[in-house]
Assembly symmetry: C2
Homo-oligomer: 407 residues x 2
């Protein structure tokens, strides 16, 4: 359950590799397991775990705190985040504002800042870079990475498109360069999927699918806890497949796209409301409220969308054969208010091989926090590697447990 690493070759790499495995296990289990449980789970000898924990602890990567003794026997300790340990900085950029949060080993997330913006990229991104730079000043070497979640495809980790903000092919690397550290930028649906696979309903599943419905539709296929992002990083654009038989032209250049049938934009269109992105969220809330109150037009929109959602998911299940499907965003509303319609559409689109025991379609556990949590996982996936941990160790072995990492 993590990113890839180069193969282990030498004895030294073995130590680094096992250190990373241990820290990874602490992180992935939410800093809840005792040292004895970790030792057991990783199949290590007690002596080995002893050395590794001591090393990680000395380097300021973890702290051991006493565990409440569940029974007899010598009490164990629970390795958890260190007060001076590594920090991941994450930002969730939405159409009218952004959130900034920090995360620590174990997955604890703290939202520190919330701001609004006017949709002007040349102002938004430098501002974000400034905020990151400020936290970099504050955190020093503790800041091990930063990641930004955005609601659109990110080509090759850089070129950004957000249709409903009219952001087209934004080259953000320049704007974010002033942050002082590399800043990853990734699609919000991909990050939500990553979060769900690590700390939500998709955890432990070999193949799983997450779908995020907002203004449009996006998602990500997860394989053994890893997101499949494609050759350029823009996989998962399920909203631009013709999954429901529609022929309507789409902004993307194709026609019949699923995202033209499912999401806030098509729902408001069906409802007869012209709303730009600023009014969109409020208008959609009204639509959902009216549907809950039984207004026939609103209910009809909900049902039509729920049917399209179900059918699209069915097609994707035929293609990917996931063990489960989770939904976030409006998908959750559709599931709660029109579950039967979603299910009917879903089953109608499934191959018969799936009908006996169809993969469950579930609301995601992490909800609106998904993109932030996923961004944190992205940062820690890059940090919890033999190489990065060895570098961290070297900066702390020189008797400099708090200062900057200078060579």
């Amino acid at each position: 359950m993590s990113g890839m690493s180069p193969p282990v070759r030498t004895s030294e790499e073995l130590r680094a590799h096992n250190r990373a495995r241990l820290l990874r296990a602490v992180h992935d289990t939410g800093a809840a397991l005792t040292r004895a449980q970790l030792t057991d789970r990783l199949g290590m000898a007690r002596g080995t775990a002893s050395v590794l924990v001591a090393e990680l602890s000395d380097a300021g990567l973890i702290t051991e705190s006493p565990a409440e003794p569940p029974s007899r026997g010598r009490p164990s300790h629970v390795p958890g985040p260190h007060a001076e340990g590594p920090v991941a900085l994450t930002i969730h950029l939405r159409e009218d504002g952004w959130q900034l949060a920090t995360g620590t080993i174990g997955g604890e997330l703290s939202v520190l800042e919330e701001e609004t913006h006017q949709g002007e990229p040349s102002r938004v991104f430098p501002e974000i870079a400034d905020r990151i730079a400020a936290h970099r000043e504050r955190l020093g070497h503790r800041l091990v990475g930063a990641a930004v979640s955005v609601a659109g495809p990110v080509v090759n980790g850089n070129l950004l498109h957000v249709t409903h903000l009219r952001w087209e092919e934004l080259d953000v690397s320049g704007w974010l360069g002033t942050a002082g550290i590399p800043v990853r930028i990734a699609n919000d649906a991909t990050l939500a999927a990553l979060a769900e696979a690590r700390r939500g309903k998709l955890r432990g599943l070999s193949t799983a699918l997450h779908i995020h419905v907002d203004f449009g539709v996006g998602g990500c296929l997860m394989d053994e806890g890893r997101p499949l992002t494609g050759a350029r990083g823009i996989a998962g654009e399920y909203g631009h497949m013709r999954l429901t038989g529609s022929t309507r032209p789409c902004d993307c250049g194709a026609e019949g796209c699923w995202g033209g049938e499912v999401g806030a934009v098509p729902m408001l269109r069906r409802y007869g409301v012209a709303a730009d992105y600023r009014q969109g969220r409020a208008a959609l809330a009204r639509l959902l409220r009216n549907a809950a109150d039984g207004e026939p037009e609103a209910v009809a929109v909900l049902d039509a969308t729920a049917d399209s959602l179900g059918r699209g998911i069915g097609g994707l299940v035929n293609a990917h054969d996931p063990a489960a499907v989770t939904l976030s965003g409006i998908g959750v509303d559709l599931l709660h208010r029109a579950r039967d319609t979603v299910t009917a559409g879903y089953r109608a689109a499934l191959m018969r091989y799936h009908l006996d025991d169809p993969p469950p379609v579930l609301p995601a556990d992490l909800g609106v926090r998904g993109p932030l949590v996923g961004a944190m996982e992205l940062v820690f996936d890059e940090f919890i590697t033999p190489e990065r941990l060895t570098a961290w160790h070297q900066h702390h072995a020189a008797g400099d447990p708090t200062g900057d990492p200078r060579q």
Copy 2:
């Protein structure tokens, strides 16, 4: 480029792991690299490679033969398959017959038998099991695994469906149990994809897509050389997605399936020919020939199918973002005879983010041998692991280089 392995923990596992890496490199490069090149590629010290090669050689896994000296310096040796080394048995089952082949380290394949059958599963599978058992007798411990390729989904590695043969939910494990060794059974499109990713045009690509068009359509998404087969092993049924806006009901229970628009069955339907699977292949050959001769009806069928093929591929590229797409089966004919139509449909379905530099759509290198090659890779992926290699070594360390593996 291989399957997954449990994490390395101890020094002993390190040795086993490096042995497997070396043998894997020999296999993946087609036994073409010299020992010095392998040492370099794997980043090993010369002494380490010396020991590993000696071990693999002593165990009868590889033989070293002299390489032609390309320049000055001490001549090197090329590790290749051992005359008494491991053998993979592969079978490609088609609607009217089957082929049996063996493969060795390095990927050399020899077709040994070809038979016809009458489509009666209770006869076909026991016959195949018998043939495997016979080769098991002949090969003894050298036979390290067997795999069968079939033209339909295989649920959980066992329940088999081949629509055009009216094979429904065949539980083949019983029939194949008499082979005496575990026999894997897998979808032909998946295996063709695996072959293409290891020894064809998809080699070395992070994310890639292979699509096989025969009576219907299937495929497989490849990630870092590994096939993504889903939770039950039936991923890649792209033929059962509604990718082209059709509404025609499909045998699978859904409607509008891509496989109802692309493949031999819909082509013959459009051509007005009623043909069961026995006549189907011949009828399709006539259709293709007539199209080549310029017969308007045949050309129209080809064009309509090529357009659907291109549009479907476009949708799948939007979803998966592969670095390249390869085609096998009728897909190659469509590409050769109606490339412009395929391309036009493809581009019409692509999101604009892909239009600048669309992933190439190419005929597969391995063609009809794809499923056999892929089946061999499947067997060797299970064999070239630290655990299996250590077991092989133990049977050969007891001074019994040719005999049966008895404890």
